[in-house]
């Protein structure tokens, strides 16, 4: 029975994807979990794995945009026939029968089809044959439904879940060997014992080496950052005297009404960067490989440490927003990021990213690009430091900023001018008006 390969929903809110290329050809053997094709969504391009063993019988959609859930190929036994239309996404009413038993389906279609008991044996035979086909179709639909679940739900037996709970194992990190990849008790028990002896034979006996299977989010992060790492980048560092920015923040906080979000230094920085970005569009850009796309507006991504890994929700039109509006947007997306409730739209169309580790007391660091964006700003902590002003040593709150630029899109002087503006605006925030 051929399994339909359907376009999976790879993320929240994903409605369609673009097939870039097939990594296997028709007639080729594929194994479950082997990369099958490359799929481009507007967030990422990624390899999608086969969910069944067999022969890639037919590629229905060779390339181009496809709706989620649509059949794009069939995997089955060698020589097996498949329907060319591949309309598995909309099964006929009969095919929705869940029982595979032909006679049973015959009974049902008889009930639906004719009010009188069908005693005509000819007719019954015909119905039975029809039902057999329907049942066969059902089996296919049911099977593919089982294996095509890519909505992030983890299939595990109740026992496996309980064992994982008791042993403190994250069930998401266990790979299932049961039917359709279901995680069964043995898998959890295996996961509980594997880390010690298998992966680290050199480790001293009894050491608690923890091996975590990559979640899809983690895999995406790994792949995209590896790509980003290949870009030719340079970094620029500057320190800004935050005296006036901090004063401004205090004044804003003092004026708050009860239900308003308290603006942070980060919010102020978002506003200042947005103002600087629209003045220096060379930095407010995407590098697409074929072109450089410069934006007249600043949609600023904020790197947030969410439970499942780093996410970068976007604060849109930060250049046209007040600090208070930015604070409200930021509070909203950060809360939703931590609850895992971000929509795809929240993550899209960023033109620039700010990564702030200041709250951990980090003085300075280098951020990795967030492609296709051409630049990212790494923000350290605001710290009291001695500075020389007019020949005198004074103590000032200093903030260290490091800008990472994709040299394919940005030259050193573009980045430097942008960073100078950011510094000026932080030291004299009124200029951001």
């Amino acid at each position: 029975m051929a399994t339909e390969v359907k376009l999976p929903r790879l993320g929240q809110g994903m409605e369609s994807g673009t097939i870039v290329k097939w990594l296997k050809g028709e007639g080729e053997q594929v194994k479950k979990r082997e990369p099958l094709y490359e799929l481009d969504t507007d967030k990422v391009t990624q390899e999608v794995e086969a969910e069944a063993d067999g022969v890639l019988l037919k590629i229905v959609v060779d390339s181009g945009e496809v709706e989620v859930g649509k059949t794009i190929a069939f995997i089955g036994q060698e020589g097996e026939e498949v329907s060319a239309s591949g309309n598995g996404a909309t099964p006929s009413p009969e095919a929705e029968e869940t029982d595979n038993d032909a006679t049973e389906a015959a009974e049902d279609s008889q009930e639906e089809g004719s009010p009188a008991p069908a005693m005509d044996s000819q007719r019954e035979r015909g119905q039975e044959a029809a039902a057999r086909t329907a049942a066969a179709a059902t089996e296919k639909v049911a099977d593919s439904n089982k294996v095509e679940r890519s909505d992030g739900r983890i299939k595990a037996s109740p026992l496996a879940r309980r064992l994982a709970r008791e042993k403190g194992i994250d069930i998401a990190q266990v790979s299932g060997t049961g039917p359709e990849g279901r995680i069964v008790a043995e898998d959890v028990e295996g996961a509980a014992v594997t880390p010690a002896p298998a992966p680290a034979p050199a480790a001293p006996a009894g050491s608690d080496v923890e091996e975590l299977q990559l979640s899809s989010t983690r895999k995406t992060i790994a792949r995209r950052l590896t790509e980003a790492w290949q870009a030719p980048v340079f970094q620029l560092t500057v320190s800004a005297d935050m005296t006036r920015s901090l004063e401004l923040r205090e004044r804003l906080v003092a004026r708050l009404t009860e239900d308003e979000t308290k603006p942070t230094v980060s919010d102020l920085l978002t506003k200042v960067c947005a103002a600087a970005l629209v003045r220096h569009r060379a930095v407010n850009a995407h590098f697409t490989g074929e072109s450089i796309r410069r934006f007249p507006y600043a949609h600023i991504g904020i790197a947030v440490a969410a439970p499942n890994g780093l996410v970068v929700p976007v604060i849109r039109d930060a250049d046209r927003s007040t600090i208070q509006e930015i604070a409200a947007s930021r509070a909203d997306v950060v809360a939703r990021a931590r609850d895992g409730k971000l929509q795809r739209a929240d993550l899209e169309e960023g033109t620039f990213t700010i990564s702030n580790l200041g709250m951990y007391g980090i003085e300075q660091f280098i951020a990795v690009l967030n492609p296709p964006q051409a630049a990212i700003l790494a923000v350290g902590a605001t710290e009291q430091k001695p500075v020389v002003r007019d020949g005198l040593v004074e103590v000032r709150p200093l903030l260290t900023l490091t800008l990472t630029c994709d040299h394919r899109a940005i030259d050193g002087s573009d980045g430097a001018e942008f960073l100078r503006t950011v510094k000026e605006l932080l030291e004299e925030p009124a200029l951001a008006l």
Binding site: A106, E107, P158, T177, G178, P179, E180
Partner: protein
Amino acid sequence: MAELTYREAVRDALSRAMREDEDVFIMGEDIAEMGGSMGVTQGMLAEFGPERVRNTPISEIAIVGTGIGAAMQGMRPVVEIKYQDFLTLSMEQLVNQAAKHRTMSGGQLKVPLTVRTQGGAGWSPGAQHAQQLEAWFVHVPGLKVAFPSTPEDVRGLLWSSIYDDNPVIFFEHRLLYPLKGEVPDELEPIPFGKARVMREGSDVTVIAIGRMVPEALQAAKQAEEEEGISVEVIDPRTLLPLDEDTILDSVRKTTRCVTAHEAVTRGGFGAELAAVVQAGAFDYLDAPIERVGAKFAPLAFAPAMEQWAIPHAADVLEAVKRTVARS
């Protein structure tokens, strides 16, 4: 220990009760001179006479209705419905009368009636003489339902049925009648609501009833020898009341469960068992519960088609293998 066939064990329970107790008598179609369609009551007319071994007209509603009347008057009648398919004709008496009188009279009336019946496929009796309808009666409060699978159990449970003050529908399977088994010299009543662990195992629990008990035991043997799978086989023996504790203890141990009966799967007693198991052992289940039963179709006369429709040891074995499957 003596060895009796299932048929002889039924007769032994009836005869012993009738010897000891004047209130016990039997009634049914062709049970006197002919000894019943399955020969169960052969010889009883000679021993107990026509007063206590009574032939009836071909009217199931009259047979059961008469039994109810006698039971309410203090007798302990055992009536026989020749084929369980024709319990349909006595449904009004069973469901609306026998099952209800004790409660509706506030306990003033009792109906200590035993309705013996038999059926089952395997000998080409066709669609109207081979059904397994036990599940219907499990749905009726006020009835008790027994379906033993061994000579010892059929004898002990029939005795308990006769001396139960509630109406009992007592199912026998036609293919089990020639089955031989050891029985204690002294008849030991077997309480209702107590399952029997027929075979111990550690990987999968098969809960089987009627003919599927020996089939499940054969499947268990094969599973052990050919696949190295250790199968526990449980016969609930009475479906109502049901020994949930024994079943749940077993499934919690094995973590997998298969139900098996000859009745069609849909709406069969296996569905009730599956519900009991998932509710009581949810966190212990490592695989979906598998149900084995007949295909959903009126049974064909043609032997090949009949055999295709009903479940066998091979079907139990397949289900057992599915529960321990690795993809």
